[in-house]
Amino acid sequence: EAGVAQSPRYKIIEKRQSVAFWCNPISGHATLYWYQQILGQGPKLLIQFQNNGVVDDSQLPKDRFSAERLKGVDSTLKIQPAKLEDSAVYLCASSPRTSGLSTDTQYFGPGTRLTVL
Protein backbone atom coordinates (compact mmCIF):
# COMPACT_ATOMS: atom_id res chain seq x y z
CA GLU A 1 0.00 0.00 0.00
CA ALA A 2 1.39 3.39 -0.97
CA GLY A 3 1.91 5.82 1.86
CA VAL A 4 1.07 9.50 2.17
CA ALA A 5 2.84 11.46 -0.56
CA GLN A 6 3.99 15.04 -0.15
CA SER A 7 5.75 17.48 -2.42
CA PRO A 8 7.99 19.28 -2.61
CA ARG A 9 10.29 17.77 0.01
CA TYR A 10 12.23 20.99 0.47
CA LYS A 11 11.47 24.63 -0.22
CA ILE A 12 13.47 27.78 0.39
CA ILE A 13 11.77 31.15 -0.04
CA GLU A 14 12.23 34.71 1.10
CA LYS A 15 9.89 36.34 3.57
CA ARG A 16 6.76 37.83 2.10
CA GLN A 17 6.79 35.31 -0.76
CA SER A 18 4.07 32.71 -1.17
CA VAL A 19 4.44 28.94 -1.13
CA ALA A 20 2.20 25.91 -1.60
CA PHE A 21 2.50 22.32 -0.44
CA TRP A 22 0.71 19.32 -1.86
CA CYS A 23 -0.46 16.14 -0.17
CA ASN A 24 -1.89 12.91 -1.57
CA PRO A 25 -3.29 10.76 1.26
CA ILE A 26 -3.52 6.99 1.37
CA SER A 27 -6.24 5.83 -1.00
CA GLY A 28 -9.62 5.64 0.65
CA HIS A 29 -8.67 7.61 3.76
CA ALA A 30 -11.48 9.98 4.65
CA THR A 31 -9.59 12.20 7.08
CA LEU A 32 -6.61 14.39 6.24
CA TYR A 33 -4.52 16.48 8.62
CA TRP A 34 -1.91 19.18 8.15
CA TYR A 35 0.60 19.62 10.99
CA GLN A 36 3.39 22.14 11.50
CA GLN A 37 6.53 20.80 13.17
CA ILE A 38 9.00 23.45 14.27
CA LEU A 39 12.54 22.23 14.87
CA GLY A 40 12.83 20.58 18.28
CA GLN A 41 9.08 20.40 18.86
CA GLY A 42 6.24 18.00 18.31
CA PRO A 43 3.78 18.34 15.43
CA LYS A 44 1.03 20.90 15.93
CA LEU A 45 -2.28 20.49 14.13
CA LEU A 46 -3.11 23.24 11.65
CA ILE A 47 -6.23 21.88 9.98
CA GLN A 48 -8.26 18.69 9.77
CA PHE A 49 -10.49 17.69 6.86
CA GLN A 50 -13.23 15.09 6.86
CA ASN A 51 -13.63 14.21 3.18
CA ASN A 52 -13.67 17.73 1.67
CA GLY A 53 -15.11 19.52 4.71
CA VAL A 54 -13.13 21.28 7.43
CA VAL A 55 -13.50 19.72 10.90
CA ASP A 56 -11.00 21.82 12.83
CA ASP A 57 -9.00 24.84 11.70
CA SER A 58 -8.82 26.58 15.07
CA GLN A 59 -5.01 26.78 15.01
CA LEU A 60 -4.61 27.79 11.39
CA PRO A 61 -3.33 31.40 11.06
CA LYS A 62 -6.04 32.33 8.62
CA ASP A 63 -4.59 35.71 7.77
CA ARG A 64 -1.77 33.99 5.89
CA PHE A 65 -2.48 30.26 5.74
CA SER A 66 -5.14 28.56 3.63
CA ALA A 67 -5.88 24.95 2.78
CA GLU A 68 -8.26 23.09 0.58
CA ARG A 69 -9.11 19.51 -0.18
CA LEU A 70 -10.83 19.31 -3.50
CA LYS A 71 -13.01 16.27 -4.19
CA GLY A 72 -12.05 14.86 -0.80
CA VAL A 73 -8.72 13.46 -1.98
CA ASP A 74 -5.61 15.62 -2.54
CA SER A 75 -4.97 18.68 -0.47
CA THR A 76 -2.91 21.83 -0.75
CA LEU A 77 -1.67 24.10 2.02
CA LYS A 78 -0.68 27.65 1.08
CA ILE A 79 1.17 30.37 2.94
CA GLN A 80 0.94 33.94 1.69
CA PRO A 81 2.88 35.96 2.67
CA ALA A 82 5.46 33.85 4.48
CA LYS A 83 7.18 35.00 7.67
CA LEU A 84 10.48 33.92 9.17
CA GLU A 85 8.65 32.04 11.94
CA ASP A 86 6.94 29.83 9.34
CA SER A 87 10.19 27.92 8.88
CA ALA A 88 9.24 24.37 9.83
CA VAL A 89 8.41 20.94 8.48
CA TYR A 90 4.84 20.70 7.22
CA LEU A 91 3.47 17.21 7.71
CA CYS A 92 0.41 15.73 6.09
CA ALA A 93 -1.30 12.75 7.68
CA SER A 94 -4.35 10.69 6.81
CA SER A 95 -6.55 8.20 8.59
CA PRO A 96 -9.42 6.04 7.47
CA ARG A 97 -11.77 7.23 10.22
CA THR A 98 -15.06 8.85 9.53
CA SER A 99 -16.98 11.02 11.94
CA GLY A 100 -18.31 9.28 15.01
CA LEU A 101 -16.07 6.24 14.82
CA SER A 102 -13.18 5.42 17.09
CA THR A 103 -9.76 6.94 16.67
CA ASP A 104 -7.82 5.39 13.80
CA THR A 105 -4.09 5.44 13.31
CA GLN A 106 -2.80 8.55 11.63
CA TYR A 107 -0.31 7.81 8.87
CA PHE A 108 2.17 10.58 8.22
CA GLY A 109 3.93 11.60 5.06
CA PRO A 110 7.65 12.54 4.99
CA GLY A 111 6.89 16.25 5.22
CA THR A 112 8.00 19.38 3.40
CA ARG A 113 10.85 21.29 5.00
CA LEU A 114 10.27 25.03 4.53
CA THR A 115 13.01 27.57 5.10
CA VAL A 116 12.02 31.24 5.05
CA LEU A 117 14.97 33.64 4.65
Partner: protein, 114 residues
Amino acid sequence: QQQVKQSPQSLIVQKGGISIINCAYENTAFDYFPWYQQFPGKGPALLIAIRPDVSEKKEGRFTISFNKSAKQFSLHIMDSQPGDSATYFCAEGNYGGSQGNLIFGKGTKLSVKP
Protein backbone atom coordinates in the same frame (compact mmCIF):
# COMPACT_ATOMS: atom_id res chain seq x y z
CA GLN B 1 -3.45 24.87 23.80
CA GLN B 2 -3.40 21.96 26.23
CA GLN B 3 0.04 20.48 26.51
CA VAL B 4 1.38 17.07 27.21
CA LYS B 5 4.70 17.46 29.01
CA GLN B 6 7.42 15.07 27.92
CA SER B 7 10.79 14.29 29.51
CA PRO B 8 13.69 13.94 29.15
CA GLN B 9 14.46 16.06 26.10
CA SER B 10 17.29 13.70 25.15
CA LEU B 11 18.44 10.30 26.32
CA ILE B 12 21.56 8.23 25.74
CA VAL B 13 21.38 4.51 26.48
CA GLN B 14 23.82 1.67 25.98
CA LYS B 15 22.84 -1.20 23.70
CA GLY B 16 20.83 -3.73 25.67
CA GLY B 17 19.73 -1.20 28.26
CA ILE B 18 16.26 0.08 29.12
CA SER B 19 15.08 3.41 27.72
CA ILE B 20 12.37 5.21 29.69
CA ILE B 21 10.49 8.28 28.47
CA ASN B 22 7.84 10.00 30.56
CA CYS B 23 4.79 12.12 29.77
CA ALA B 24 2.27 13.97 31.90
CA TYR B 25 -1.10 15.23 30.77
CA GLU B 26 -3.52 17.75 32.26
CA ASN B 27 -6.95 17.23 30.74
CA THR B 28 -8.69 14.07 31.90
CA ALA B 29 -11.09 14.33 28.96
CA PHE B 30 -8.37 12.79 26.83
CA ASP B 31 -8.58 9.02 26.71
CA TYR B 32 -6.18 7.94 23.99
CA PHE B 33 -2.42 8.09 24.47
CA PRO B 34 -0.22 7.00 21.56
CA TRP B 35 3.53 7.04 21.15
CA TYR B 36 5.05 7.94 17.79
CA GLN B 37 8.56 7.22 16.54
CA GLN B 38 10.24 9.58 14.08
CA PHE B 39 13.47 8.97 12.18
CA PRO B 40 15.36 11.89 10.59
CA GLY B 41 13.74 12.99 7.34
CA LYS B 42 10.66 10.86 7.92
CA GLY B 43 7.21 11.52 9.27
CA PRO B 44 6.17 10.16 12.67
CA ALA B 45 4.91 6.57 12.76
CA LEU B 46 2.64 5.04 15.40
CA LEU B 47 4.58 2.78 17.74
CA ILE B 48 2.08 1.79 20.42
CA ALA B 49 -1.02 3.29 22.04
CA ILE B 50 -2.99 2.87 25.27
CA ARG B 51 -6.31 3.85 26.78
CA PRO B 52 -6.73 4.68 30.50
CA ASP B 53 -8.79 1.58 31.24
CA VAL B 54 -5.58 -0.49 31.32
CA SER B 55 -2.42 0.16 33.30
CA GLU B 56 0.04 -1.44 30.92
CA LYS B 57 0.32 -2.47 27.30
CA LYS B 58 3.20 -4.41 25.82
CA GLU B 59 4.15 -4.96 22.21
CA GLY B 60 7.45 -6.75 21.73
CA ARG B 61 10.20 -4.72 23.38
CA PHE B 62 7.93 -1.67 23.82
CA THR B 63 5.72 -1.18 26.89
CA ILE B 64 3.44 1.68 27.89
CA SER B 65 2.77 2.10 31.61
CA PHE B 66 -0.23 4.26 32.51
CA ASN B 67 -0.90 5.88 35.91
CA LYS B 68 -4.36 7.42 35.75
CA SER B 69 -4.32 8.93 39.25
CA ALA B 70 -1.01 10.69 38.58
CA LYS B 71 -2.02 11.60 35.02
CA GLN B 72 1.24 10.19 33.74
CA PHE B 73 2.28 7.58 31.22
CA SER B 74 5.63 6.29 30.10
CA LEU B 75 7.29 4.35 27.32
CA HIS B 76 9.78 1.64 28.18
CA ILE B 77 12.05 0.19 25.51
CA MET B 78 13.61 -3.03 26.69
CA ASP B 79 16.89 -4.34 25.25
CA SER B 80 17.42 -1.05 23.41
CA GLN B 81 19.13 -1.36 20.02
CA PRO B 82 21.01 1.17 17.86
CA GLY B 83 18.12 0.93 15.38
CA ASP B 84 15.84 2.39 18.07
CA SER B 85 17.76 5.67 17.84
CA ALA B 86 15.06 8.15 16.87
CA THR B 87 12.86 10.88 18.31
CA TYR B 88 9.88 9.67 20.31
CA PHE B 89 6.71 11.69 20.80
CA CYS B 90 3.90 11.03 23.21
CA ALA B 91 0.48 12.40 22.36
CA GLU B 92 -3.04 12.67 23.71
CA GLY B 93 -6.34 12.44 21.92
CA ASN B 94 -10.00 11.56 22.19
CA TYR B 95 -10.86 7.94 21.50
CA GLY B 96 -14.20 7.85 19.76
CA GLY B 97 -14.36 11.61 19.51
CA SER B 98 -15.61 13.27 16.38
CA GLN B 99 -12.33 15.01 15.68
CA GLY B 100 -9.54 12.61 16.48
CA ASN B 101 -6.77 15.16 16.29
CA LEU B 102 -3.73 14.61 18.48
CA ILE B 103 -1.76 16.94 20.76
CA PHE B 104 1.92 16.00 20.79
CA GLY B 105 4.67 16.42 23.36
CA LYS B 106 7.93 18.10 22.41
CA GLY B 107 9.75 14.85 21.81
CA THR B 108 12.67 12.88 23.23
CA LYS B 109 15.74 12.23 21.12
CA LEU B 110 17.00 8.74 21.96
CA SER B 111 20.51 7.64 21.07
CA VAL B 112 21.43 4.01 21.65
CA LYS B 113 25.19 3.48 21.74
CA PRO B 114 26.62 0.18 20.44
